[in-house]
Each structure stands twice: as structure tokens, then as C-alpha cells.
Symmetry: D2
Subunit: 440 residues, 4 copies
């Protein structure tokens, strides 16, 4: 359970500089869409979760709101900023970079912003990566394209070498756009920054196409990704229905969490089965997945199976899961395993089958953000700039229950966000597919 201490936000020091935005902030009132600086947002909003009966409101765990402050910590004229993108592609990366640069330069008047290339290795001299000067002109139209103009890579780098680079370039603020591995790396950087007694703010913008970072609303790019994923599910359905014994098998992203599989299935009601990491399943046996599939194919002549890449890892025998450069567990390929098992099982039972396999991950993650995500990324970037200019550090900015808030990095990496097998999302999926509550 999250307690108040988990929610305390670190700052580099008191805010004494008038924000250039102050005139626009006016006599801000508390309304649905904005928060006053001294306000707090309850961490939980249900009676059952928010705390014990009788506890006064102000003692409940609460979050610092995001947004502009009238007083800021950094003097824009003297501030230098670095930006880095890490890990796999996700729709909206360029929108976030663009939003950061425009807000910093146009509204705060920060002059020098650099992008480090190809993830954390961009800080390390051995890799020989140059830095990219980021101006409003450079970033103005980058949101028309997917990917990241900074490039990206997986993997940690030595925090001492990173802080050396920050010192070398006189960086005062570092924005880190990445997933939980990246945020852990940023925490190491903060520790090294502190050891050296530097005043560098490190602010994270959480990126996870799988939507598995906890305590936040859907992560940026998620809606774009799930929208793209519906296309593959529908294509699989068209293929399945056009061939005798047609089976469309779609492997989607989702290493630990099946959100993309669930939402895309709800959006385009073509799937007969959804398999996700959170809900184990058996393959064999009378009540196993394969027998259930066989019956469905024999009854209807076709079937569509959606599987998240992290589902059913226990079935991926003989493939020793290693770790990739970021330390992420490397998964056995459940998609190819299922394809083989399905063919074998149906062949063994003399059931005609034509399996079409779809693996659209690269195609999904490389598209530009859709309009919703585009607007969301822009606002998230604005919130990140406000947080950093006010001297917040070791925080991520996030939208939680539709409000922009500051969440300490330690909390953000303390667990993962999962599809609740007892929750209403999964129940809607079960209802949409008609698949059994459990196999086996």
C-alpha cells in the first residue's frame, strides 16, 4: 500500500525566480481543469483504498499536482537542457521532444537545448555520438513522423560517465524519456549528481507502449498502438474467414501486461481468443486451449487468436530466456510456438487448418502518434518542463486519473501495471470473445 512518504517529491531548492509564464497564470482559481500550486491530489479515490474510516482528508496520501508555478528554481537565461530517448520505439516520442523544446524555448526563454543520441550511449565518449542542437525550427514538424529523431538504444550506461557528460556540457536539466529500465538508470544518475553536489534536475517522461507503468492513466502512444493493432486483428479475421479452416494468429506487444491485446480486441470485435501474461493457460488436455480451438474451428470454420508476447511463457520450452541489453528478460516466442502447436494439434485430429501468422510489432510502434496522443504528448511535455523549471528532480510527470501529477521515480518502478484478471476490463474481454474464464 502506498503511504505518504512514497509520494514526497524532491526539489533542488526553493523557487525564487519569477516565472515568465506568471502573467498568463493570472488569478488562478481552483477549477476542474487546473490546480493551485499548494493543492494536493488524493492518491486513491475510493473509500476502500484511500484509507481507514475516520482518517481526516488531509492526512491521506496525496500527490503534488503538475503544472506551471509562479516562482521557479532555474533562471531560464542560464539554463541548459538535455533530452534523451531510450528503449523501444513508441508513437509520440517526437511529439514529446517537440513539446519540450517549444515550451522551454518559446515560453520560458531557454536558449540551449541539446539532444543526446541513441539513448544513454549518447553520453558516453566511446560511442562517438554527437549531440544535436534542438531549436524550434528543428523540431517544428518532427511530429509528422514516427520514431525518434534522437535515435534510441537499449541498455544502461555508467552513471559516472553520464554525469561527466552533463558537467562537460553544463546541463542543468535532463529529460529522460523511457520505460522502467530507463527510469532506474535515471535514478542512478540522480544519485551520482547528488554525490557530486550538483544542481541538476532529472525529470522522466514515462514511455511504455505496453502501458505497464503503474499509477498513471494510459501511457502516451498506447491509444495509437492499440488502434494500429486492431488492423492486424481485422486482417487476421479476413484471412481466417476466407480460407477453409482459416486461423488468424496475431502476436501483439505486451511483455508483462496484456493491455494492447485487450483494448484492441474490444475495439474490433473479431477475436475468438485473447491470451495475456496475466492469465495463465494450459495448451493440452480436454479443457486446454488447443482442444477448445479445435472445437471452435470445427463449428465455425475459422478462428482468430490474439496473443500478447509475454503470455504463456511457461510453454516456451527449450528457449532459455536471456536478458537483452537493457536487462529486460528476453522472451521465448509464444507466437511461433502457438503456430506450431495449433498446426500439429489440428493435423493430428484430421482438422483442416490454414494458419496465418501476424507479427505487426514494428509496424505498430513506428507510426506517428494519433491526434489524441499528439495532444496528450504536448501537454505531458508542458508538465515536464514546468516540473523541471521548478526544480523537481527524480520525478516522472504523469497523468493520473486525468490530472497531471508528479510521481517519485522510486514509486514508478516499484511495480508494474497489469490487467486485473478479476477486473472489468478483462471481464469485458471475456464477454467480447466468448472464451472460457480459464483453460485447463
Amino acid at each position: 500500500m502506498v503511504v505518504s512518504a512514497d509520494l514526497a517529491v524532491r526539489t533542488l531548492g526553493p523557487c525564487r525566480i519569477d516565472s515568465p509564464l506568471a502573467p498568463r497564470l493570472g488569478a488562478r482559481e481552483t477549477t476542474q481543469h487546473s490546480v493551485v500550486e499548494e493543492d494536493r491530489i488524493l492518491f486513491d479515490d475510493t473509500l476502500s483504498m484511500a484509507g481507514a474510516r475516520g482518517v481526516p482528508l488531509e492526512q491521506l496520501p496525496s500527490l503534488e499536482p503538475g503544472g506551471p508555478r509562479k516562482k521557479i528554481y532555474f533562471d531560464p537565461a542560464k539554463t541548459r537542457v538535455g533530452i534523451v530517448t531510450c528503449g523501444g520505439l513508441c508513437p509520440g516520442l517526437n511529439d514529446v521532444i517537440r513539446g519540450l523544446v517549444l515550451e522551454l524555448s518559446r515560453h520560458y526563454g531557454v536558449r540551449r537545448i541539446v539532444g543526446f543520441r541513441n539513448g544513454y550511449r549518447g553520453f558516453i565518449p566511446e560511442f562517438g555520438e554527437d549531440v544535436l542542437d534542438l531549436t524550434p525550427e528543428v523540431v517544428m514538424h518532427i511530429d509528422d513522423e514516427g520514431g525518434t529523431i534522437l535515435g534510441t538504444s537499449r541498455g544502461k550506461q555508467d552513471p559516472e560517465a553520464i554525469v561527466d557528460a552533463l558537467e562537460r556540457l553544463n546541463i542543468n536539466i535532463l529529460f529522460v524519456i523511457g520505460g522502467d529500465g530507463t527510469i532506474r538508470g535515471a535514478m542512478d544518475v540522480v544519485a551520482e549528481v547528488e554525490r557530486r553536489g550538483l544542481k541538476v534536475a532529472v525529470v522522466g517522461i514515462p514511455k511504455t507502449i505496453d502501458n505497464d507503468i503503474p499509477y498513471i492513466d494510459q501511457s502516451f502512444g498506447f491509444q495509437t498502438a492499440m488502434s494500429e493493432a486492431t488492423k492486424s486483428i481485422h486482417a487476421a479475421s479476413v484471412e481466417a474467414r476466407s480460407a477453409p479452416g482459416g486461423i488468424g494468429l496475431v502476436k501483439l506487444m505486451g511483455r508483462h501486461s496484456g493491455f494492447i491485446a485487450c483494448y484492441s480486441t474490444l475495439a474490433k470485435d473479431d477475436a475468438d481468443y485473447v491470451l495475456i501474461p496475466e492469465v495463465p493457460f494450459t495448451l493440452d488436455g480436454e479443457h486446454g486451449f488447443l482442444e477448445n480451438l479445435r472445437h471452435r474451428v470445427q463449428e465455425r470454420g475459422h478462428a482468430v487468436v490474439v496473443v500478447a508476447e509475454g503470455a504463456g511463457q511457461e510453454h516456451v520450452e527449450g528457449e532459455e530466456p536471456g536478458r537483452d541489453a537493457s536487462g529486460n528478460v528476453r522472451f521465448g516466442d509464444i507466437g511461433r510456438l502457438l503456430r506450431r502447436k495449433i498446426v500439429e494439434h489440428l493435423d493430428a485430429h484430421g482438422v483442416e487448418n490454414n494458419v496465418r501468422y501476424f507479427d505487426p510489432s514494428y509496424a505498430i510502434r513506428s507510426v506517428p502518434a494519433n491526434p489524441y496522443d499528439s495532444a496528450y504528448c504536448l501537454r505531458l511535455a508542458h508538465a515536464a518542463v514546468h516540473a523541471a523549471m521548478a526544480g523537481r528532480t527524480e520525478v516522472i510527470v504523469a497523468r493520473r486519473r486525468r490530472r497531471f501529477v508528479h510521481i517519485p521515480m522510486a514509486l514508478a518502478v516499484s511495480r508494474r501495471n497489469h490487467v486485473d484478471p478479476l477486473g472489468d476490463l478483462w471481464m469485458s474481454v471475456l464477454e467480447a470473445t466468448g472464451q472460457p474464464v480459464r483453460f485447463g
Copy 2:
């Protein structure tokens, strides 16, 4: 300020029937994605809004969660259901109809569901509208199309005649999909139902393409609509930049609230000006809109103006605002007025101008829901069915801060949702366009 009494949900009576869904509900635990039935969700979640210091949590205003109940009020085998769609088109109407029918029939086992045609007039014998039997087969693919298969119309009808129709057809549950006028109409129906001592649940699914219903997250179809709107803004920008003195003028929906104008502008950063109902502006004078526009056109050679249909109504002289069949104020056409004023002003100053006018409202509202809205509509429909089967009445189902909740109809029509001129959304718009905080 909302108090607890405002949030009390009415029910037809105690729930004594086992839900057919109960086996799936299992030993439901309280988790992030689901709520136990007896739980409550705080209405406000900031200290400043949620209440006075020292008030214990359980005394704060709170909402009933949506979702399935283990015990329900209506016996599915004997339940007859009616569905009606009212008011203007909105992406997702067919998704909601489909979601209602599938959930009722497949999961609760309700057999007889009828759709009333063309809004409330579908209940009135004089109009001679037949009813449409709604089965899973009929609705299975209707979500591929925009519009509503039931048809729709504006305007109230006599509640007595409506309840006569409900009695004639033995309807126990009526789902009403519409905006605030429609919900007011539903409240009249509830009053008449009560006067007659009937046990009919009336549950609303709020529809507002303008996103102006209060206390809920973005209304269904809103994201689709704002995504479509970005296309017109971009087309206006292309036109403006391709002609000497090119000015793209885009009138978007938004009678009382400028959300579509704001979000679509943030998503596609092409607009120089956004004019919304919440922020008055002057046309003439040194600091008026027209002079500001003139300078921008002279400096950059082109400009893009986005105007919500309800903006600047004080300028629409000589057009007596009437009321349409639903009693909505009929607005003077600010778009055509602006077009004329811009041409006159620039001509008078000898500034070349080529104004291209876009009025994409019908094109926007008639598209199918995008995948996000499609999944959202499905889940909203599920929540509505759960509420109705549990005997809730005179409520709307809604998502508020990402949870499905029951909101009394009276509260839902007590005010409108507006863009806060002091909030962060509008501030992001000001930053994106660079327009002045105020004209005049």
C-alpha cells in the same frame, strides 16, 4: 458545490435475483481496475475541492461505482428493453447500441429488445414509426458505420405518450442515448413512470460531441471527432500557405464549450487563432481580433483561424437566435460572419487575402468511432446494462476520472462542462497558437 445528497442514486427496489454473471465475478477483490459493490468513489480528489480539513473520508461526497452486481433487480427472462437515440449524430452511437444488445442478450439472457426510431418521436403513434427488433445478428456489424441505425431526431415529446408506449410494449428498461435535452426528457419520463407506479428503469448514456456534459471524462465520440477535426485544420493550413494572403477559416462544433477546437488545435499545431465560447473577444479596435489577424497575415503571408460555432455570439448581430426543435438556442453563424468581416477588414487595409472557409461538422460527426471510442462505447454500454439490471433509474452511466460510475440525471444536467479560461488546457492552446490572452 456538489454535496452527498446530489449523488444519491435511485433504485427501483432491492436486488434479489442472482446475476447470470455471478460465476464470472468470482471472489472479486478490490483492485485498481474494479470496485466492490459496496465501495464508493470520492466525488472530488483534491484537497481544495474535496472538503474541509478534518472531515473524515467516509463523510465526503462520493459516487456509486458502476459495474456488475452479484444480485440484480430484474429477472432477465421477463425483462423487455427499449433503446432510443436522440439529438445530433455522434461517432459511437452504433457501438453503444451494439454493446447494449450484446450484453443484454448474450450475458444476461434478455430476449426482447426493441429500438425506437428517430428519437423520442418513435414513441408517438402520430409519427407512425415502427420499432426495430434488436438481436445480436442485427447489431453485430453496425459499429462499422457511423450514424445510428435507429435514426434520430431533435425535440421533446409528451412524457405521457412515451410512457403509454412503454406500457403498451411492456418495456421494463429504457436506455436513452442523448445529450442534456434528452436527459431532461428522460427525467420527465421517470416522473410519469412514478406517477403511474410502474417499475421501469430509465438509464441514460450521455452523448455530447462537444464534451459539455459535466462531471465525466471525455464523452464517447469526442476523440474521434477531435481527430477528424484536425484534418480540416490541416487542410486549412495547406490552403492558406498555398495562396498569397491565404487565410484558412475552420468552423468546428462547440455550441457552449470549445473542447473540440482546443484539442484538435493541440493535436495538429497549424492554427494561429482559436476562438471559443468561453473566452469573449472583440473584433474591432487596435487590439481586436481583426487587427491582430491583419498583422499576422502581413508578417507571415497566411493564417489559420479555428472558431467554435458558439464563440462570439455577441457579434452575430441581426440574426435573432431562435430555438430548434429540442429547445436548444439556435446560433447565429459566427463562421460566415467572420469570413465576411475578415475580407472587409483586410480589403479596407489593402491587404491581399484569399479566405478559404471550412465547415466540416457533418463530415466529422458521421464517421465511425475510432478504436479508442469503440472500446469505450462497448464498456460504457456494459456499465449501463449492469446499472439497469440492478434496478438503477434516473441515472446516467459515465466514466469519471477513469472509473465507471452512476451519476443522477439531475446532477448531469445541472450545469455544463466548459474549457476553463484559467486552466492548463487553455494555457496550452495559448502557447501552441501564440495568440494573445485577450483581444481588445
Copy 3:
């Protein structure tokens, strides 16, 4: 009837310079997809049109093929090129500009290419337009956007002033992208060039979103435009079917020719009526359009009407057709007239009606080229460059029956391309809509 003399292509002089492309041309053989330079392409390919019986093949009218020549007229190192876009927007303009610049610079090695701004006025000092240097870097991604980076305008300018500008800038080749008015303007330029004894090649790339330039396959951008138009027809259909007495009325481009109306109707079979300039119709009377529409609305409850802007001009009373800056006849607005007439007629007969009017022209013409048009524009640009480098002048490049050919400008403006009321395209439209062969 076209005779051989009409097809003679003018050249500035003999080609004596080795083409830098020659090594790639290799030992070119005559195949389906290429032509040898000395080959000719028959102008007509049916017995009935191609000529009298007994005429030997080589005496039939034939066209010069487009494509690269081994010997060229201009020395790339000394060649200066100008590009201008004129008239209304059309998808693919930027693709053509880009294709010209890339082919000239990368493959022929031409160094100096300038774009004249805003149509022919870009040549006239009074307008004060600067020229834009066009390099591969400048044009590399312009095809991602609709419109034209050069800007455009309507209207002729003084050919002497234009040639003055060509001389001032030492332009040897001028590419003119525009419609029939623009081509006529280019012919005036050629005449003035000749009067002065200059060696300037003027090559046109025909642009007509209406597809009304004769003797060529579909003009570039046409397929994109007709694809976009289907969206409006479908939206009109959704609106019509969702309202009692719903009538969707869509005005599409097509001043003289109804190709967009016809093809978009065939592609998305939602329209009940298509009205085009080539087929007159009566409004009133027992067999007029309005009565026919009334019956259809009463039978089916809704209808969709597609009207090309140039249709039924005889009905647009009281609107004196003037001429715009290009000398094009300015049309009365048949769309608004029809809207009014339909409402009046149905009201007069007591038939409920809800007319939704769509005028998507700006939205259609401003989109980027679709992949087909994009590839087509690139190849058309290549052909234009080959023609110009080989010294051809007063020609347009075009694809005729799927081959790139050179057509003298005089022939290209000698008539318009029309939908044949007795041809198979119109018959397919009649079959798809079910409308009567004639009204009245």
C-alpha cells in the same frame, strides 16, 4: 479529327550532347514498358477511329514517345531551370516539383533551379515575389504535404514581363504546372521567346483535378481526389439514413466534366443521383429531378444526391456568371440552389425532409497525393525533364493509354475531356444509382 500535323512536336534544335543517363539506358530494346526514341505511338488504337481502311500503319497519326534520350539538347552544367505552379490546388503538386528537382539535379547534374512564387505573378516585379532556390534538400520531404510550396494564383500575366524575368535569371527551361488557362499562358510565353530568338524550352505538366484535359489518361491527383470525394458521399449517406426524410447533398468539383462525381459514385455505391455538366436535367415537372427525388424519399426514407459544380448551370438563375482572374467562367452555385429547391419542393408536398449539404472541395484538393498518384507524379516529372533536356518546347508531357508521350500544347487546349453520355462510364453510373436516363 486529329491529324498528323497536330501531333508534330517542336524542338529548339538538334540534340548533340551525350546524356549523363546514357550509360543507364544501355542497349535498350523495344518492350512493353519502354520505347525507343525513334518509335512512334499511334494516336488512336481502334479501327473506327484510327483511320480509313487501307491506310498503312506508318501514315496514321502518331505521337512522340516520352522518356530519356541518349543525346540531349541542353548542357546540364550550363542549364538554369524555372518552375511555376498555377491555378487551383491539386493533390500531387509537390510531388511533381520534387520529381523535377531530383531528376534535374541528381541525374542530369543541373545545379540551379528556381521556383517562381504564386503562379505567373511570380515573374512580375510589381508583385514583389522572391524566387525560391530549389535543391534536393529543400524538396526531399515536400511530398508529405498537400498544396504547393511555391504557392499558386489564378490569372494570366503579360508574356513580355514573364520573358523579361526569364532573361534576367538566364532561365533555359521553364516547367509550367497548370490547367488549360495556364497552358494557354505558356503558349504566349513561347511566342514571345521566339520573337526574341531565345532558346528557352517551355514544357507543361498538365494539372486538372477535374480530369478535363483531353487525350491523356487520368490527370495526376485525380485518383486521390476521387478517393477523398467518396468520404463525403459516404458521410452524406450516413447522415441521410440517420434522420427522417434525410437527404445528403454533395457538391463536388467538376466545372465542365463530371469525372470526379462519376468515379467516386462508382467507388462507394451510396448515391441515388449523380448530376454532371455533360447531362442536362430538368428540375420541375412530372419527370423532373425534384419529383423523382420526392418519390425516392417517400419510398426509402432518404436519398443521396451528388452534383458536380458545373451541372445544371441553366438553372442557376439570376446569378450572372462572371469570370475569375484566370478567365474561367465563374459558376452559379448549383449546390445551394438545389438545396433550396429540394426543401421548397418537399415542403410544398408535405414531405418531411432534413437536407444535409456537403461542399468538400477545399478538403479534397488539399490532401497529399495517395501512393498511386505519388508514383505517377514522379514518373511524369521524370518524363518532363527528359523532354525539356532534349529541347522539346511548347509540349506537355502526359500519359496516354499508359505510355508517356509528348503532346503539343495547342492540341491539349483544343477541347475538353468529357464524360461521354453514351459511354460505358456513364452507363455504369446509371446502373449503380438506378437513376433515370433522363429527367424531364
Copy 4:
């Protein structure tokens, strides 16, 4: 070389029945868009190809035009029609089915139309496939979806069994939609029909997503397919540019012909290399593909490679090419081979590489036809119905140089359509990619 005898169209007998369409055909004149029945269309239209000098026009090889006839062979009231789709999916199949059914039933008044399921096996009793009654209601909206509502399969079936089925169901006209294997199968059916002295017309609508059927303009679905393919090329480019040493590798359809690879590359200018079956390449050696790629990756940091599935088959060692059920050669997987070779080569040279592999074939072929293809399919279906009703048999209908014509089946399968390595399409590709004319 094609001679007149190759172009003779077979008919079942004289046309003596008045066509129900005759009133619409009116006094048809010869115009650009229609042909009179007794007209002929020259097979070739260039001097070099069309024949020897001095040959009179009417002696040149020429084709029978497609389109409606005033007199027809079959009596609509007594005619029964079968439709079958065979081979792989292709966008537009449902459009063709729909076009056939609507034209037959609405315009000719044919009452009984059946669809055979799952290709030629739908005729064979052992497979137990039922037939599907095809009415206007059934087919009205099938064009909204990809795939084929009839299902499809590969492989020939016994022509005697097929004709048994035709006799059993009293089928007079069989429409066969498929590729060259399917057309060969149809020729066997014709032979058996004749052997039995039956009067059954067999008309083919050529389907080839690869565009490899000769003598016709682009095959239906081709433009949709190439448009979809551009998305994968662009995604590959985004991935390649976002990773150090990023290489996007896209395998596209194209067993014998690289048209999809070529056109999609021209449309979206992101590829550095295009490899097609028509142009052999070496992998190894100083001038081989791998070394060239290595240099490009080292210079630019990334590269995009597009490969048609039939390219470089000589390199796919150790994979014995078999034949699939249709007798098509089964190809070794050049995509996976290239991926392995690229990684090995770059690793061996110490060049960092991140290869992203795309295999979008199923995703491409399962989409609905785009508006262009949709209109094209409709008109092609109209032409096929006209041909069959006029008693033509053993022909395919096709568009050749933008006219609908009848081509004998034997000619249609006599060779394949290829990208000409010396033609202007391939030269445009070479120019767009900048790749060398040859590797090795």
C-alpha cells in the same frame, strides 16, 4: 509476337436475343470512352511493335472490345450463373463478386446466381462444401470488407467433376476469378464442356496481386496493394533511422514480377535498395549487395531494403523449392536469408547493425479495395457480365491500355508480365533509390 489468330474470341453461338440493356444503349456513337460492337482495338499501338511498314490498319492484330451488346446469347430468364474465387487473397475480390451479382440481377434480370465455396473444391462433392445463393441483398455491402465471402483455396480439381457439378446445378455461365493457375483450370473446364457438347460460357476475371498477368493494365487490387506496401516501407525507414546501424528489411509480394516492390518504392521514397526477380544480384564480393549495403550503413547510419519474395532465388540454398497445391513453385524465403546474411556480413566487418524485418504480405492482401480499385472492379465485373451474356467463352475480360477488351485465355497464360530491366519503370526505381545498375 502476338498474331491475329491468338486474339480470336470464341463464342457459343450467334446472339439473337434483345438485350434488356438495349434501350439504354441508344444510338451509340464511337467516342473515346465507348466502342461500337463491330469495332476492333489494335493489339499494339507503337509502330515498332504493331507490325511491318505498309501493312494496312485493318490487317493488324486487334482485340474485341468489351461492353454491352444489343443482342445477347443467353435468355436472362433461363440463365443460371456460378461464381468461384480461387488462389490467394487480393483486394477487390468482394467488389468483383458484388459487381457480377448486381449487374446480372438488376440489369439483365438473371434470377439464380450461386457462389461455389473455397475455390475449385467447391465443385467437388467429397469436400462437402455447400453453395451460397447470391442475391443483391447478400452482396450489397460485402465490398466494405477484404477477403472473399466465397472463401478460396489453391489447387486444381478434376474438370470432369467440375462439369458434373455445373450440369447438376444447370449452370450456363461460370465466372472464374483467379490467377494463371486458375485460368488454366478454367481452360480444362471449357474442354470438358465442349467434349460433352454443353452450352456453358466460362469467363475469367484475372486476379493477380503481383500484376504478372500479361497484356493488361494493372490488375485489380494492385493499386491497393502497392499503397499498403508503402506503409511497411515507411515503417522500416522509421525503424532504421531510430536505431544505430538500423536496417529495415521489407519482404513484399512478387513471385515472378517485382511490380509491387517497384511502385511502392516510387510512391514513398524511403528505400535504398529494391531487389526483384527480374534483376539478378550477387550477394558477396566487392561489388555484391552486402558490401554495397555495408558502405551505405557506414556512411548514412541506416538503410532500407525492399525485396520481392521471388528475388534472388538462386541464393536460397538448401531449400528445395517444392510446389504448392496450385502447382506454383514454392519459394525459398529470400527475406529470412537476407536478414541472416546481412547480420553475418556486418558483424564480420564489425559494423553495428539492428535489422528490423517486415513481412506484411497477409496484412496487405486482406484489406478492402481502395476507391480506385473499387470502381475498377465494378466496371470489370460489368464487362465480364456483358461478355458472358453475349456467349463469349474461354476469355478473360481485362483493361488494356484503358479499354475493356476480351482476351483469349490461352493468350493470357502464355507468358508473364515482368518489370522490364531496360524500361522506364525500373530506371525510375534506380533513380529513386540510387542503387547501382547491377551488383557484382
